[in-house]
Symmetry: C2
DNA sequence: AAAGCATGACGTATTTTTACGTCAAAATTA
DNA sequence: TAATTTTGACGTAAAAATACGTCATGCTTT
């Protein structure tokens, strides 16, 4: 019964646009940058780095997670976030200056 | 007298986010793709390629122009659009599969 | 000059995104 | 066990993006 809503665009285009959308906010870029420079990556630490409220930062984290750029696992009462494979690959391959300058790091906890 | 509205984010981050935002819509990616494959690039031709109304496509073109990915010059009653340097550079350097697969072309009219 | 195209500007309804407050749950600490 | 922390879920107001219709302008054709 679900509407078969006609696809206007190619799937690849749509997916790529989705990825770019995730990168299209300075807070999210800053989060990626921070995660790339850190091994430990508590949710709380990230919050302190970003000039926005905690819940907003959390929301941005969710979006990064949704497109597979970031990964988060629960450790007791805290949550550890780190770059997911997709992000690391992107950082490595991308010719985009900002991204490639980031150090890719492996979270030693994820 | 203008409010000195405090900057929340670094300028570079903001600018890069702006660029990604321009890439964050399938229609705009398709426009870039089309322009990259064409030498001639009438506004009208583009409109026919994209499954959206004319004015909407025009709006997307404006956004691409705003961030310097696309360039348009008036030729009589028509307007020629083509990739701007920024886009060509991006296509060349980017490790992002979709982008680097596009052929960069020079509009022979711009 | 008149009629017909191609474009861009402008206004606008709808949908998304953004930012944040409040709540509830799970885990730590006291 | 009670108080505190840390976090995610949910709701929501405000701002931005999206898609289009309409109008005006400036070329082309006729």
């Amino acid at each position: 019964m679900a509407e078969a809503k006609t696809q206007l665009f190619d799937n690849d285009l749509q997916e790529l646009a989705q990825l770019f959308k995730a990168l299209a906010h300075p807070a999210r870029l800053q989060i990626l940058s921070f995660l790339a420079s850190q091994n430990a990556c508590f949710s709380g630490d990230i919050t302190e780095e970003i000039p926005l409220g905690r819940t907003t930062v959390n929301q941005h984290l969710s979006e990064l997670k949704k497109v597979g750029l970031v990964q988060g696992i629960v450790r007791g009462s805290k949550t550890n976030y780190c770059l997911d494979n997709k992000a690391i690959e992107l950082l490595e391959k991308s010719g985009i200056e900002f991204l490639s300058k980031l150090n890719k790091s492996n979270c030693n906890d994820c």
